[in-house]
């Protein structure tokens, strides 16, 4: 998988940008607030069809026009694709349009055309943060490798929202329980598909993450386990109904999923040192790109946003070893300092300043 070129128009702090990318290592250097993260975010948006950073799509639109666009030419699986994503202020809401080779595509059906693994400072939350960070990690990986996952996830969320509203209506005496089974059945069916995809991915991810972690941290064991809802989901939903009615929301289902991350037998979130947590995060991210490669037969584009400076030598080397393995990598950094000279020699190095990309110096 390889990004050949990228064009941004009125996207965040980029008024207009066209860059070509080389097949291996692309390094972008820049001071704070110049557009490094924005650039990698644009590539991630093409992989996920949504920003990994902002929920509000309107945030992507720059000040010069009511519309932002991200376009790219991508080589993958022996064919070249042209992708275009536009976000525009509409009269009522933000409108997103997507084209693949000129043909309109629903947003839920874009992921899978370009695979990318983004690793940025936020990802420390994978170990330190709440379960929503780990669900997001699973979702962002799965939309790229399981056909239909994005649609199932969107439908599940919608049905969940409907069921929660219904619970409140029933509790408030506005409606009987007559239509509840209809929503429950749909929620259970969609939820089971999410659970199946997640459980399958985590069982594949666990040994990959353990191998990466062991290699960085001298054989220290890392265990990853999926913690999903009780199975089967239908009866579990029924069993939690009275409590759900009291609370006005649904207590069981994949929207409550988590990943258990244990280092040397202890829960990493509360027991591991900062360094161990970072190692686990690097290992998980590398495992994600391993999994995508195993499932799609192609290495995903690795997007590393300013993470090397946060890592100590062994972890940095583990990442850089991966960078040298041949897939396309796009790296940003404030300084060139963490990169070995041998790597810099093979890289195309450019500088970002105020939403412009130029040769350095």
């Amino acid at each position: 998988m390889r990004l050949v070129s990228l064009t941004l128009r009125n996207y965040r702090n980029y008024a207009r940008l066209t860059i070509e990318l080389q097949p291996q290592l692309n390094l972008f250097l820049g001071q704070n607030a110049q557009g490094k993260t924005n650039l990698l975010e644009a590539i991630a948006i093409l992989a996920l069809s949504a920003s990994p950073r902002s929920r509000r799509e309107a945030d992507l639109i720059g000040p010069a026009a009511p519309e932002a666009s991200v376009e790219a030419v991508v080589d993958g699986a022996g064919r070249r694709l042209e992708l275009a994503l536009k976000v525009a202020h509409g009269s009522e809401r933000t409108v997103k349009t997507i084209r693949v080779d000129g043909v309109a595509r629903r947003a839920v059906d874009l992921p899978g055309e370009v695979q990318a693994t983004l690793f940025w400072p936020e990802d420390l939350n994978l170990v330190k943060g709440g379960p929503e960070h780990r669900r997001r990690f699973l979702n962002e990986m799965l939309v790229q490798v399981v056909k239909g996952y994005g649609r199932t996830l969107a439908s599940y969320r919608r049905v969940l929202e409907q069921r929660n509203s219904l619970l409140k209506r029933i509790a408030g005496g506005l409606e009987g329980r007559g239509s509840l089974p209809v929503w429950d059945e749909e929620l259970a069916a969609l939820g089971s598909r999410l659970v199946e995809a997640r459980a399958g991915a985590v069982s594949q991810l666990a040994p990959l993450a353990a191998a990466n972690h062991g290699a960085i941290a001298a054989g220290e064991p890392l265990e990853i386990e999926y913690s999903g809802p009780p199975a089967p989901l239908g009866p579990a939903l029924a069993a939690s109904l009275e409590e759900d009615l009291r609370r006005g929301s649904t207590g069981v289902g994949p929207h409550r999923d988590d990943l258990s991350i244990r280092i040397a037998g202890s829960e990493a979130r509360s027991f591991a040192s900062q360094g161990q947590q970072r190692t686990a995060v690097v290992s998980l991210k590398l495992a994600e790109s391993d999994l995508i490669e195993a499932r799609c037969g192609e290495r995903p584009i690795l997007l590393l946003d300013d993470v090397l400076s946060e890592l100590d030598a062994p972890r940095r080397e583990a990442l850089l070893a991966r960078v040298g393995e041949g897939g396309q990598v796009v790296v940003t950094s404030v300084e060139a300092e963490p990169f070995p000279a041998a790597l810099l020699e093979r890289a195309t190095v450019r500088c970002i300043s105020g939403g412009r990309v130029e040769p350095c110096g």
């Binding site: 059906d109 239909g148 919608r158 409907q162 509203s165 219904l166 409606e175 007559g178 209809v182 929503w183």
Partner: protein
């Protein structure tokens, strides 16, 4: 004044039409009294054709009035229609009582209808509404069906969206 019996009978029938009072019924009846025989024959033929053409044992349930036109345009369907004026959507505070589901059940209570085709949209709320109708109508001994989802005519298999293709495959028919 004593009117002739056939005229009395026509006035009686006309005044039973929706929106027609005794005055209007009289005016219409006298109109036909004056009109030539051909006019009367054309009207009675049209009425009889209508009854012959429409299958009153079949009701197609749709979300909105425009859906009726869409199905009528196909000239394929000869049953009755029932417009729900919405779909189940608790988020929007719409439950079974807020759309015309009670009215549908009233229509079925007569016992003439043998099949209800639920032609709500194939989205989350449309499917939920269809599933709900199936639950409440089946116990009445009325068959509930859903229009087939399949490949668009003239479309290219390669470009069919996945959900459509998956459904078309799982609900395939023997040739």
């Amino acid at each position: 004044m004593q009117l002739p019996e056939p005229l009395e009978r026509l006035i009686g029938e006309l005044s039973r039409l929706p929106g027609v009072g005794p005055k209007t019924a009289q005016r219409l009846a006298f109109h036909f009294l004056r009109a030539d025989r051909e006019r009367a024959e054309r009207l009675s033929e049209a009425l009889l054709d209508l009854k012959a053409r429409i299958d009153e044992t079949l009701i197609c349930v749709v979300e909105a009035p425009l859906d009726v036109l869409a199905i009528e345009r196909t000239a394929e369907y000869r049953g009755l229609f029932h417009v729900l004026h919405g779909v189940l959507s608790p988020i929007d505070n719409v439950g079974a009582e807020e759309i015309h589901i009670p009215e549908l059940l009233d229509r079925l209570a007569g016992g003439e209808v043998r099949e209800v085709i639920v032609a709500t949209n194939p989205d989350i709320e449309g499917e939920a509404t269809a599933a709900y109708l199936q639950r409440v109508i089946s116990p009445l001994g009325v068959q509930v069906t859903r229009p087939a989802h399949g490949l668009p005519f003239g479309g290219d298999l390669e470009y069919a969206d996945e959900l459509t293709l998956a459904r078309a495959m799982s609900r395939r028919q023997v040739l």
